[in-house]
C-alpha cells in the first residue's frame, strides 16, 4: 500500500492524477466553504447578474438566471462523487458475487448466469440506462439505479474470467482437498486474488460512472433542476453557443478534469498492480 502510493507520487502523470482527484474531492467536500455563492446551488434567481461572462466575482460567469457557475460546479462535483461511490458500492458486490459463482460452480449455473450477463452487455450501456430512466421518474436515486443496472455485468465478466483461471490453481485444489466449503473457497481463497483487478477497475470506473451519469442528465434523464449537475448544465447552455460559451465550456471541462484525474490514477494502478486484463 505504501509502496503503491510512493510509485503513484513519483510518476509525473499519476502525480497529476492524484492532484486533480484531490482537487475534485476537496472541492466537493468543502463546497460550502469554497463556493463564493453557496446559495446558488438551489433555485436562486438574480436577474441583475444573469448571463455574465467570466469576471470578478463570477470567475466562470453566471448562468441564465444569474447563478454563479463556479459555485454550481463545486456542488455538482459533490453529487457526482456520491453517485459514483454509491453506484460502485452496489454494482461491484453484485457483479463480483455473480462472477465468482459462475466461474467456480460451473455447469448450468455458469451458463445461465453468464448468458444473463451477456444480455445486459448487449444493450448499449447508455441505451439501457436511458430505457430504465424512461420508465422510472428522473430522480437522483433512480439515476443511480439505472447506472448500477448497466455496471455490474462488467465486474461479473472480469471476476468470472479470473475465477476460471484460478479454479485450476494448486491452492484451490489444496483447499478443496482439506474439505473447505465452496463458499470458503470462493470468498476466502479466490476472491483475494481478484482484488487488484477489481480495485484498478473501480478507480477507472469512478471516472466513467461520473461520465455516464452526466450523459444521462445531459439528455434530461438524470438529476433534475434546480440540483446542479454538470451534464444538464452543458445541455442547458448548448442552446446559447457560441455567444454564451461559458455556460457549456466550464461544466464540460469540469467533467473532463475529474474523469481525466481518475483515469490517470487508474492507469498507473494497472501498471503497478500488473492487473492488465
Amino acid at each position: 500500500m505504501k509502496r503503491t502510493l510512493a510509485i503513484l507520487l513519483a510518476n509525473p502523470l499519476s502525480l497529476l492524477g492524484v492532484v486533480l482527484v484531490a482537487l475534485v474531492v476537496l472541492s466537493a467536500i468543502f463546497a460550502d466553504v469554497i463556493a463564493p455563492f453557496p446559495e446558488h446551488r438551489g433555485a436562486v434567481v438574480d436577474f441583475a447578474n444573469f448571463n455574465k461572462p467570466p469576471q470578478w466575482p463570477y470567475i466562470m460567469g453566471t448562468d441564465l438566471v444569474g447563478r454563479d457557475i463556479f459555485s454550481r460546479i463545486l456542488y455538482a462535483y459533490r453529487i457526482s462523487l456520491v453517485l459514483g461511490v454509491v453506484v460502485l458500492a452496489i454494482a461491484v458486490p453484485i457483479g463480483v458475487a455473480i462472477g465468482l459463482v459462475a466461474g467456480y460452480v460451473g455447469g448450468w449455473t455458469e451458463y445461465a448466469l453468464m448468458r444473463i450477463t451477456d444480455i445486459f452487455l448487449s444493450i448499449p450501456p447508455l441505451v439501457l440506462a436511458m430505457s430504465i430512466m424512461g420508465v422510472l421518474e428522473p430522480t437522483l436515486t433512480n439515476g443511480m439505479l439505472a447506472v448500477t443496472a448497466m455496471w455490474w455485468p462488467w465486474y461479473a465478466r472480469l471476476v468470472y474470467n479470473i475465477t476460471r483461471a484460478e479454479r485450476e490453481e494448486g491452492y484451490v485444489l489444496a483447499a478443496e482437498v482439506i474439505g473447505a466449503s465452496p463458499t470458503h473457497v470462493m470468498f476466502r481463497e479466490i476472491l483475494p486474488n481478484c482484488v487488484p483487478a477489481i480495485v484498478t477497475k473501480m478507480t477507472l470506473d469512478l471516472g466513467f460512472v461520473i461520465l455516464i451519469a452526466s450523459s444521462l442528465s445531459f439528455l434530461g434523464l438524470g438529476v433534475q433542476p434546480p440540483t446542479p449537475d454538470l451534464g444538464s448544465m452543458v445541455a442547458d447552455g448548448a442552446k446559447y453557443l457560441p455567444d454564451s460559451w461559458w455556460l457549456t465550456v466550464f461544466p464540460g471541462l469540469a467533467i473532463l478534469v475529474a474523469v481525466f484525474g481518475f483515469n490517470l490514477i487508474g492507469d498507473a494502478l494497472r501498471d503497478i498492480l500488473g492487473a492488465d486484463q
Binding site: L13, R115, I116, D118, I119, F120, S122, I123, P124, P125, L126, V127, L128, M130, S131, I132, M133, G134, V135, L136, E137, G207, L211, I212, S214, S215, F218, L219, G220, L221, G231, V234, A235, A238, L241, P242, W245, T248, V249, G252, L253, I255, L256, V259, F260, N263, L264, D267, D276
Partner: protein, 341 residues
Amino acid sequence: MSPIVRILAKRLGTSLLVLAGVSMLIFAIARIIPGDPARIALGPNATAEQVANLRAALHLDESIPVQYGYFLKDLSQGDLGVSLYTNRPVTQDIAQFLPATLELVLVAGLLMVVAGLPLGILSARFRGGVTDNIIRMISLLGVSAPSFVWAVILMLIFAFYLPLFPIAGRISDVYAIAPVTGFLLVDTLIAGNFAAFADASWHIMLPAVALALSGIGQAARLTRANMIETYDRPYIEMARSYGFSERRIANRYAFKPSLIPSLTIIGLDFAAMLGNAFLVEAIFAWPGLSRYGVAVILRKDLNAIVGTVLVISATFLIANIIVDLLIAFINPRIRLSRRAS
C-alpha cells in the same frame, strides 16, 4: 464445413438467444411503467371508454407474458406496433431515423480504426519517448470526456472560431437527394452528385470525430499495451537480429498479434457509440434516432421504446458477429483449424 462458417452459425445462434433475452428484458422494463400508457397517449380529455378501448387494442389488460406473446407474434410479421408519439408504425419511424445514426456511427467506427490503431503502433514503437507520451496523453484525454463535451469543444473551435466546418445538419439545403438507402454518403454517389457527396462528407466530419474520440483513445491504448507485451517475445528479437527496420518490426511483427484484442474492443466500442450517438446528435442537430429515442422515452411510448432498443441491440450484435468473423479470418489458429474450439 470451414471453421469460419461454423463460427458464423454458432454466433448467429447465440445472438438470436441473446436478442430474445434483450427483448424480454426491455419488454419487462417497459411494462412496469407507472402510469397508464393509453391515458398518456390520449391525453387528459379522453373519456374512460376511449382509454379502455385503446387498452384493449394494445392488449394492456392481459398479463405480461401474454402481452409478450402478442408482441412476438407481431414481430414475426415485421410489425413492432404503432408509436403513440408519432401515430405511425414504429418500423417506419425507425427506418426513417436509423440510417442517419448508423451512417454517423459507421464513419466514427472507421475513424476509430484508421486513427486509433496507427496511433497505438507509433506509441508502442517509440515507447517511453516524447511521441509515446504525447499520444498517451491525447488518448487518455479522448476517453476522459463524454462525447457531448467533445462535440461542444470541436464545434466551438472548428465551426465557430475557425469556420472550417458546417455547424449542424447532415447536408446543405441546396441539395435535394432522393433517398434510396438513407445513407447520404451512398445516396449522393448513387445520384452521381459529387458536390453533394463532398458536402455531406463535410457535414459528417465534426460529429463523427466527436463520437470517435473516446474510441480512438481506447483503441490506441489497447494496441500499445498489447504490442509492448509482444515486444518481449523471442521472435521480435530474431526479426531484429535479421536487421529488419524498427518500422517493419512494429508494423508487421509486433502489431499482428495485438490486432485481435484491439478488434474485440472496437466491437464493444461500437456498442458504446450507438448509445453515445444520442449525445452527439443533440449538439449537432443530426436528424438521427436520438431525438426520437429521447422523445419516446420521455412520453413512455412503449412500442417505440421496445422497438428502438431492439433495433439498436440487433445492430450491435451484427457488428459483433462481423468482428468475430474478422478475428477468425485473421487468426490462423482459427482459420486453419479442423475443429471449432
